[in-house]
């Protein structure tokens, strides 16, 4: 039985703490039994600045669980849908594996599985199966830098809302996808 009631859950990644160790990526593969060569979350490396003042930082990159998701709009069978946890998931019984959601996603966080591996688009589920039991997602429990936090965005007293006050922003807000996953941008 579910210990935790569904609510609008979200995630914040603090890029100032992220060290780019890929532990979240590997923990996710182990937890969700993701197939070879596939990743639900990965590390994107950024190099920025003008010589000689250049800098480098890493970013955990995964599904942003948009509340106005292009992938859900694009899906022809309504297999991609919003869950009561505020996340975006795929119903395997409806999915035809057309790949339209992979192309529609402006964040490029979905990947198609091979046909013999089931052919579903591989994406982050925010580890709902763990949230229901009152646990934290695999990436958050693994993160050595404490750069990831998940929590109830609707609860004003939750720790995630204290992180929100530290200047968390949505990725590519101009797309008006209204994500539930935020980043605290890298500051030099």
């Amino acid at each position: 039985m579910a210990k935790v009631k569904p609510a609008r859950w979200g995630k914040i990644v603090d890029l100032n703490k992220c060290v780019g160790c890929h532990a979240c990526s590997v923990a996710c593969v182990a937890e969700n039994k993701v197939k070879d060569g596939m990743h639900r979350t990965r590390i994107v490396e950024h190099e920025d600045g003008q010589f000689p003042n250049v800098y480098h930082y890493t970013e955990k990159w995964s599904c942003n669980h948009c509340q106005n998701a292009p992938c859900v709009d694009a899906c022809p069978t309504q297999a991609s849908h919003y869950t009561e946890w505020g996340t975006v998931e795929v119903k395997p019984e409806l999915c035809i594996g057309c790949g339209y959601c992979v192309l529609a996603c402006p964040y490029r966080v979905r990947m198609m599985n091979q046909r013999h591996d089931g052919g579903l688009p591989e994406k982050c589920t925010l580890c709902i199966h763990r949230l229901e039991k009152g646990e934290k997602p695999a990436c958050e429990t693994t993160c050595i830098a404490g750069a990831i936090i998940t929590g109830n965005l609707d609860d004003p007293n939750s720790e995630i809302n204290q992180w929100m006050a530290k200047g968390a922003v949505a990725r590519r807000p101009e797309l008006e996808t209204h994500p539930n996953v935020f980043i605290i941008p890298f500051r030099r």
Binding site: P70, P76, L103, Q114, R115
Partner: protein, 320 residues
């Protein structure tokens, strides 16, 4: 990452191409039937050919799915915000109505329903022609695809390739019929075992008329391509789009395969043909080579746009 770069492959390009062929032939069949003042032979060959390319394309589409055993779900679950869902509906009904119309034309049915099915063929052909480009244009985050002119370009190309399929189909039909008449003994002549209206008599005047129409459409297509390039230049993400298909990436395939071999060369051949610059033997070769070039160019156009559009995705990750 390379194996994940291309979500859609050449099967989608074939499917978009065949959808265009069917759309073009279907619209011509519908228009010629409704106006009823053009050659009966154009009407018949376009009605005969219209349903079949898209049926092949649908097989390609199912072959490309990663969960093909679930294919029926797209036909029973619809989603109004998804362009693909609309397309699935049109692609389900178009072959059915087009096959009925083909049977009506073949068996020379002259009832009241014939006009209705001609209108259906025109409207559904229009819908499929628009849908094939809109499927890509609706992906609004893609700098190459999210351009209304891509949809328009595919639509114009659908008409052009449809006309060329009619030229080739009519020529093949005519030659086959002549060949059968030559080898069959008098007892087994086609009139004995096929309906009378089978004979197309697809002579050179009809081909000339179709090549003339096609030349105009090719000029429109070249204008749309130049407008598309300007439209890319005017956009903030235009450099990425230009780099994928115009100035880099698949630019050689695009300029040589589409613009030179697929549009300019057949346009020149067609104009020379219309001005009677060829001998009779050359006429035959040109009237076959010209549609083959246009058809090849139409396929390469889909191929370049499908693959070139997916080239830009790794860059999108680094927007922020």
């Amino acid at each position: 990452m390379e194996q994940h770069l291309f979500t859609w492959n050449y099967l989608i390009a074939i499917y978009l191409f065949t959808a265009g062929l069917s759309s073009g032939a279907g619209m011509i069949a519908g228009v010629t039937e409704i106006l009823n003042n053009t050659s009966d032979r154009i009407k018949r060959i376009s009605a005969y050919l219209a349903p079949f390319p898209v049926m092949l394309g649908l097989l390609m589409l199912v072959a490309d799915l990663h969960r093909p055993w679930n294919f029926f779900q797209v036909l029973i679950h619809y989603h109004v915000t998804s362009v693909m869902s609309w397309g699935a509906f049109f692609l389900l009904v178009f072959p059915i109505f087009a096959l009925i119309f083909t049977a009506m034309v073949y068996f020379n049915y002259q009832g009241a329903l014939r006009k209705l099915f001609a209108w259906l063929e025109l409207v559904l052909g229009l819908a499929i022609g628009i849908y094939a480009g809109l499927l890509l244009a609706a992906i609004y985050n893609n700098p190459v695809w999210s351009n209304p002119l891509i949809a328009f370009l595919f639509f114009v190309s659908a008409i052009s390739t449809g006309i060329c399929m009619i030229i080739l189909g009519g020529k093949v039909w005519d030659q086959t019929e002549t060949f059968i008449r030559k080898i069959m003994p008098a007892k087994l002549q086609p009139e004995k075992w096929l309906p009378e209206q089978i004979s197309l008599n697809f002579d050179h005047n009809i081909i000339r008329r179709l090549i003339g129409i096609d030349a105009v459409i090719i000029i429109i297509e070249l204008m749309v391509i130049s407008t598309l390039i300007i439209s890319y230049m005017l956009r903030p993400t235009g450099d990425i789009a230009l780099g994928a298909i115009i100035t880099g990436g698949y630019y050689l395939t695009f300029w040589i395969g589409v613009v030179l071999l697929g549009l300019t060369l057949p346009l020149v051949l067609g104009i020379l043909e219309l001005r009677d610059r060829f001998s009779d033997n050359m006429n035959l070769i040109v009237s076959i080579a010209e549609p083959i070039l246009v058809l090849t160019g139409g396929f390469i156009l889909r191929w370049v746009v499908v693959y070139g559009g997916q080239l830009v995705y790794p860059i999108l990750t680094f927007y922020s």
